[in-house]
């Protein structure tokens, strides 16, 4: 079936031909046509799956980095983190639509504004808890309450109506058999550049040094005259800015609505824990792994495995699409059970 318009050349790209042949080459008796049976797609678009995972991974990793930083330094899981990101995305929306600023400029203004709100919340709520030396779980439950309140404040201000940024719909372009839009390519590039900046921040600045010192040993750090409260403020600043970027990307790619924060919370947690708490590179890797898993699990056909390599006749066995939201939950629980330090280990 050829496309008469020529807009979409055949759906098989370079990488799709290679399929997943390579990883199974070590199996002695496997024939070529059985490889493709492992993946349920008769014309499995492997390159498209990789591309989708890269985009999703870039979005998630920007959120996961902030989460993992807060978890590392303040020792509690911030359930409101994704809601901060969505707040920022809404600010971007207002700046873009109401004041007519370009998206880029809107993000530059909205990120520090959100960070300021994040710091205010820290000063009003988490700092007193730190001073009281409350249990870490208290801060965690507090953040749950903040998340609920914030989500509904967004609903009060912007109503629950779905929003989209004023980006015209784009024709996809084909790269190595995968179809991507310029927005998506921009998202992947921004994600990558942000990670490089984060690396420089962590290793080339005084703040990064102080942050790593506090992460290693807080008491020792304060003995070395590191003002931990100041560092914590900066940490919130960075975490929120990265969150806003991630949130804006998700809103650009998909939709923006007040409950978005809760809907992406578990995948973000999953990415952060998968990578190992306190490990920013882990967060990136975790986000990519999760994104790949989310995209590939629905494609897998387990009949080849169940039939013990073709011994029995088994019809296609695929995971029901209704379980797609469970993928990140199950991975999360599995990682917590079997390797709570994450794939890269703790730092």
């Amino acid at each position: 079936m050829e496309d008469p318009t020529g807009a979409y050349p055949g759906r098989r790209g370079l990488i799709s031909y290679v399929k997943l042949v390579i990883p199974f080459h070590f199996l002695p008796h496997a024939r070529v046509d059985t490889y493709s049976k492992v993946l349920g797609y008769y014309n499995m678009d492997f390159s498209q799956i990789i591309a989708n995972s890269l985009v999703r991974g870039a979005e998630l990793s920007l959120l996961a980095i902030g989460l993992t930083m807060v978890f590392d330094i303040l020792k509690f899981a911030n359930f409101a983190h994704a809601d901060y990101a969505v707040l920022g995305a809404f600010l971007v929306y207002s700046l873009n639509q109401v004041l007519g600023l370009s998206l880029f400029l809107a993000v530059i203004l909205a990120a520090p504004a959100t960070a300021l709100i994040g710091i205010c919340i820290d000063t009003a709520i988490f700092k007193p808890l730190r001073r009281k030396e409350a249990k870490v779980v208290t801060a965690m439950v507090c953040s749950l309450g903040i998340g609920i309140a914030l989500r509904n404040i967004l609903r009060l201000i912007w109503t629950s109506r779905t929003k989209t940024y004023a980006i015209p719909i784009q024709k996809p372009i084909e790269i190595l058999g995968a179809r991507l839009t310029f927005t998506q390519i921009g998202i992947v590039l921004t994600g990558f550049i942000s990670m490089v900046i984060f690396h420089l921040l962590l290793h080339r600045t005084k703040f990064g040094k102080a942050l790593r010192a506090i992460s290693d040993n807080r008491v020792l750090a304060s003995a070395c005259a590191i003002d931990s409260e100041k560092v914590i403020k900066w940490m919130w600043f960075i975490a929120c800015c990265y969150g806003v970027m991630g949130g804006t990307m998700i809103a650009m790619e998909h939709l923006l609505y007040p409950r978005l924060g809760f809907d992406i919370l578990i995948p973000v947690f999953c990415a952060a824990i998968l990578g190992g708490i306190g490990n920013p590179y882990g967060a990136m890797l975790g986000a990519l792994t999760l994104a790949l898993a989310e995209n590939i699990v629905l494609a897998l056909d387990f009949s080849y495995l169940i039939s013990l390599g073709g011994l029995f006749e088994v019809g296609p066995i695929q995971i029901s699409t209704g379980y797609k939201p469970a993928i990140s939950f199950v991975i999360l629980v599995a990682v917590l059970l079997f390797r709570p330090t994450g794939i890269l280990g703790r730092k």
Partner: protein, 376 residues
């Protein structure tokens, strides 16, 4: 702290009592309860529904009201969740003492309410929910909308007849509404000799449906049949387009209800939907659309406005003819007046079958051309 407890508890109890006291009076209007999903759905939808119902009330009252008294709606929000929906229904029946309920949206929310109404002998005239399970609830549950089975069957017929294809892939939301349509569609497609290569059920309120879409197209389907709500319709259409999957010349798309699936997408990305075909309820009566526009400054976006309008109008008419608000009498009268009531929704034919449901429906076939729905 103890004083705080006292204050909180007394103020809440006082609030309850004031309301209870306020009920009752000499020249009181005839009240019917309206269950509307104001929170938890798209704002446009609930605005449509509420406006439709209010228009019906105003027209009724302008024409002399019911039983010589004004008609009044008591609107309660079901929040599109079963528990608050039940709160709302119990409050309407228990506190406001309404004998007739109408409205509703999600079948999962309305089913327990219908069962409770049946037990209490309160008449519930469904305006939007379409699960076939409502048939089994009992005589107190009636519907002015078509149950799922007809929509699923009609879209299967349309898709096979129009495309002439044999291999279909289906995509439906994973809730009572979507799954009921899916079952009927599958059965009908099989009857017509078509093969179903993939079934995809998607969870609502997610932002990324790319994996589901890839699965949908994995086994080279020749045509797609699907159902969406406004938000998910927008996201899936955009993502399918961006992955180069949405190409109706090669793989035609059939949607069981264009209006509710693409209410947002038609507004925001109409160029993507070009050539998608589907069914739609017959255009709400022209008169209704004009009046709606006069009032709101826009045409009704969903068909639900007309459903709510019809439900309230029919109830008001039945109360007048029955000369009572007794649920049983109103129910019997509804069976009598349905022959000559011309509705504004689904072509206007509102005749009930023996279960008080609608077993016939006319749909129009539409195609999206130049960003607009046109008859196909």
């Amino acid at each position: 702290m103890r004083r705080l407890v006292d204050v909180v508890v007394t103020s809440i109890l006082l609030g309850l009592l004031i309301n209870v006291g306020a009920v009752g009076g000499a020249e009181e209007p005839v009240r019917i309860g309206l269950l509307c999903p104001i929170t938890g759905t798209q704002a446009v939808m609930s605005e449509d529904m509420l406006t439709g119902a209010k228009m019906a009330v105003e027209e009724t009252n302008a024409a002399g009201g019911v039983l010589g008294r004004p008609l009044e709606l008591i609107v309660e929000d079901t929040e599109t969740r079963p528990a608050p929906g039940m709160d709302a229904a119990r409050k309407l029946i228990g506190v406001d003492r309404v004998e007739i309920l109408t409205g509703g949206f999600s079948s999962g929310v309305s089913l327990p309410i219908a069962e409770y109404a049946q037990e209490q002998g309160v008449l519930y005239v469904l305006a939007v929910p379409t699960s076939p399970l409502f048939r089994d609830v009992g005589p107190c549950c009636m519907s002015i909308t078509v149950v799922d089975s007809f929509k699923g069957k009609a879209v299967a017929d349309f898709a096979v007849e129009d495309s002439g294809k044999k291999k279909f892939a289906l995509i439906h939301m994973n809730n009572a509404f979507g799954q009921a349509i899916k079952q009927v569609t599958i059965n009908r497609l099989k009857e017509l000799g078509a093969e179903i290569v993939t079934e995809v059920d998607y969870e609502l309120n997610k932002v990324d449906y790319k994996a589901e879409l890839l699965r949908l197209f994995a086994k080279d389907p020749e045509a797609i049949v699907g159902t969406w709500y406004a938000k998910e319709g927008l996201v899936t259409a955009k993502q399918a387009y961006e992955m180069g999957l949405l190409n109706v010349d090669k793989v035609p798309w059939y949607v069981s209800e264009i209006t509710s699936s693409y209410a947002e997408a038609l507004d925001k990305i109409p160029e993507v939907l070009e050539g998608i075909k589907g069914l739609d309820p017959l255009e709400p009566g022209r008169l209704f659309s004009e009046k709606f526009k006069e009032r709101m400054g826009r045409e009704p976006i969903t068909a639900f406005a007309a459903h709510y309008y019809d439900a309230v109008r029919m109830i008001a008419m039945a109360i007048n003819f029955a000369n009572s608000t007794d649920p049983a009498a109103v129910r019997d009268t509804l069976f009598e007046i349905d022959d000559w009531y011309r509705g504004m929704s689904y072509g206007g034919d509102k005749r009930f079958d023996e279960d008080g449901m609608q077993d016939h429906a006319q749909f129009r076939k539409v195609i999206i051309q130049n960003g607009k729905k046109v008859d196909y």
